[in-house]
């Protein structure tokens, strides 16, 4: 635990380093670090300075507008918001059971998104760190550098993402911000032409996804000391699992485990998530800190996302991914894997699972069916949960008798991981910054820890890995001693 680094015992004579912005999901975050004159770390915080306001301005809007509007929260995983909102509104319109066509089209859309998002994160954003080194030459630590040194890797990453985007286009109408899912079902099924177009490439996608797992697994085996210890911390973890205990990113119930892997709760209906989770507000961040009520604020924080999901489920229903899951679990031994860099391995296993799931769905004739929407007894409150690429996503709405939204609560994946990301950043600060002069490469270690979670910090990292960074070193009087800045144009010290 590194919680003692959340707030320094005494702020006197500490200098402050701010990484601002660390770039973030659709907005900005920053890391602040307080050091003493011997460069010992006294305080580290990952601040999220975003303000989106969707929970407020969705109020007063008609409920059928919600799945299309709230997906604008994100340009990377809008399908997650589109589907989580739709699932909540399924409850509102009384659609207890979707038609087979509707459910499978939604699943196809979702797994297409998992594929494209995981490919984007691993190949475009993270392979520069993983293949070149965290403090490697910055000028090539980006996807262009990967394309030059490892052209086949870059090409596969781009084509995997493209395929996922095509799945979304065929199911939602557009690659980004489509309208395919509506309360109670979907507005289109697949045509035979669309299905065959996807079928043509899916086997290649499965093969490339498997190779990606092998690549990240090899990285772990080559340098276990780094991969097992970098920013590592123990944490509870939570995810949705299928009703049969298998990995299901679209529907199921909630399960949580403690850091030893023991089940804390299982089979929790997500309609009752408020009985499970509470959110704490801290005055130094706009992002709340969720925790498990049963364990309290100090001990109840948890981790979500691929690393949690792969270790929380009992099995994966697709054969190639299941083999990889078992090897992953075996590698960890008797205890769950807690190392942030293991997120990449777990994420690639999920990408393989997504590709295999898409392949299976494309062979299902229900995808081309015509029964698209159902409805039933109207309700006035609904919760929708989905496992987004980055973790558990909760949408909660109340709708009045005139069909207008009166309340909206969104707990997004990155919010669940707030404390966990702070822990990782603190660990890395202890491991790598303690007692050292600050360099760009060391700063990148902080970012590597944050990136492992794939928070929606990705907007700025789209700029070829050159996330804008600023670091200021001030003395106790607040005077600037040194300044380090990095922008899209390159690095410079002032």
């Amino acid at each position: 635990m590194t919680s003692h680094l959340e707030t320094a015992a005494n702020l006197e004579n500490l200098r402050r380093i701010a990484i601002d912005p660390v770039s973030r999901v659709e907005g900005h975050g920053k890391v602040t670090i307080l050091l003493d004159d011997k460069n010992r770390v006294h305080q580290v915080r990952l601040h999220i300075v975003e303000f989106r306001g969707f929970e407020k301005f969705i109020q007063g809007r008609p409920y059928w507008e919600v799945p299309v509007m709230v997906q604008r929260l994100c340009g990377i995983c809008p399908v997650s918001h589109h589907l989580a909102a739709s699932k909540a509104l399924d409850v509102i319109v009384g659609a207890k059971h979707l038609t087979p066509t509707a459910e499978k089209i939604r699943r196809l859309m979702h797994y297409g998104q998992i594929l494209q998002s995981h490919a984007l994160h691993f190949f475009h954003l993270c392979t520069p760190d993983l293949l070149f080194g965290f403090d490697s030459e910055i000028s090539r630590r980006n996807i262009a550098g990967i394309a030059e040194k490892y052209p086949e890797t870059a090409r596969r990453g781009i084509l995997l993402r493209k395929f996922g985007q095509e799945v979304i286009r065929h199911t939602a109408g557009k690659r980004v911000h489509g309208t395919g899912s509506v309360p109670g079902g979907v507005n289109k099924s697949l045509s035979i032409i669309e299905r065959d177009e996807l079928l043509k490439d899916i086997y290649q996608m499965v093969a490339w996804s498997r190779d990606a797992v092998l690549m990240v697994k090899e990285l772990h085996h080559q340098n276990p000391e780094l991969y097992n210890s970098f920013g590592a911390f123990r944490a509870n973890f939570m995810s949705m699992v299928g009703f049969d205990g298998g990995l299901d990113l679209y529907h199921g119930h909630l399960r949580g485990r403690n850091a030893n892997g023991d089940v804390l709760f299982d089979g929790v209906d997500y309609q009752n998530y408020t009985q499970l989770i509470e959110e704490e507000v801290k005055n130094w961040s706009y992002m709340k800190f969720p925790y498990l009520k049963s364990l309290g604020r100090e001990l109840g924080w948890y981790r979500v996302g691929p690393l949690s999901r792969i270790q929380n489920c009992d099995f994966l229903a697709t054969p190639l991914a299941e083999i990889e899951r078992r090897e992953f679990i075996a590698y960890g031994g008797v205890m769950p894997m807690h190392a942030p860099l293991a997120y990449h391995w777990a994420r690639m296993i999920e990408m393989l699972h997504a590709a295999e799931t898409i392949k299976d769905l494309l062979h299902d004739d229900d995808l081309t069916g015509s029964e698209l929407v159902v409805s039933g007894e109207r309700a006035f409150e609904g919760v929708g949960v989905i496992e987004a690429p980055r973790g558990t996503l909760i949408h909660h709405y109340r709708v009045d008798e005139h069909d207008l939204v009166t309340m909206c609560n969104l707990i997004v994946s990155t919010t669940h991981n707030n404390q966990a990301m702070n822990e990782a950043v603190r660990r890395v600060a202890q491991q790598y910054l303690q007692g050292h002069e600050i360099t760009e490469g060391l700063l990148n270690h902080i970012e590597v820890a944050v990136r492992a979670f794939d928070p929606c910090l990705s907007c700025a990292t789209h700029a070829l890995g050159k996330m804008p960074l600023e670091v200021e070193v001030l003395n106790e009087a607040g005077e600037r001693l040194s300044y380090f800045a990095r922008s899209g144009a390159g690095t410079h010290a002032c």
């Binding site: 059928w64 507008e65 299309v68 509007m69 309208t179 005139h402």
Partner: protein
């Protein structure tokens, strides 16, 4: 002998009593417009159909066609002015196409695409307008009203109900309904009314069917508004 006038150099035939835009539409020539609908008397308020008639600007929806007149419509200058009118309409209301269920079926949006409007250009007004969801089957989203008065004319001239009216002056003009409460539920409006199906933007909406037509199959996905200015909306 056939009466004709020239429109952008083309000879356009017309019959007695036709306006310029009516004759142009009959000849398959598109003149951008919003408040004009061939089923109703012209209103001449949106000014988008402004053309130059023998060198002087005039609304083509109210200007009678006359033999031998020279009309300019599709010129850079006129289209620039039309684009500016569109930009003003966009900023005066709250037109959020990304989450609007009328997107793809909206004449304002389609006309903006037609005239290559790339941005609102002007500062947004962000007016504070309420949504009237009181009616069990229909919703009024005043945020998107462009004051075309088509619903007013349809309710008055076809439905004989006078459910809608324009109230106020200038920038304070607004659409109102004929009920003391100001709520649609307290009027005699019903879904079979002509007024229920005439709104060119997303103000008068049938509830609970938003986004039922997928992207790619909406009216203006299939062809631009210049090819079919008043498409029949698809049944859901």
């Amino acid at each position: 002998m056939i009466n004709t006038f020239t429109l952008d150099g083309m000879s356009i035939p017309f019959s007695e009593g036709q306006t310029i835009i009516q004759a142009a539409m009959a000849a398959g020539v598109y003149i951008p417009h919003l408040c004009f609908n061939p089923q109703f008397k012209p209103h001449g308020s949106c000014k988008l159909c402004t053309v130059k008639v023998n060198g002087r600007q005039s609304s083509s929806c109210t200007h009678q066609a006359l033999s031998g007149m020279v009309v300019e419509s599709n010129t850079t200058q006129i289209n620039d002015e039309r684009r500016m009118l569109l930009q003003m309409l966009f900023v005066e209301g709250n037109h959020f196409c990304p989450s609007c269920e009328k997107s793809g079926n909206c004449q304002l949006q389609a006309t903006a695409y037609e005239l290559h409007m790339m941005s609102p250009h002007f500062d947004q007004f962000f007016p504070d307008r309420a949504v009237d969801a009181s009616h069990p089957e229909y919703l009024l989203d005043f945020n998107r009203c462009i004051l075309c008065s088509l619903c007013v004319r349809a309710s008055r001239d076809v439905d004989s109900k006078n459910v809608f009216a324009l109230s106020g002056r200038g920038i304070k003009s607004r659409l109102i309904v004929n009920a003391k409460s100001g709520l649609l539920a307290d009027t005699d409006f019903c879904g079979d009314d002509k007024a229920a199906n005439v709104c060119p933007v997303g103000v008068i909406l049938k509830k609970r069917i938003g986004f039922a037509v997928p992207i790619g199959q909406r009216s203006f996905d299939e062809q631009p508004i210049s090819a079919s200015p008043h498409p029949v909306m698809k049944e859901v």
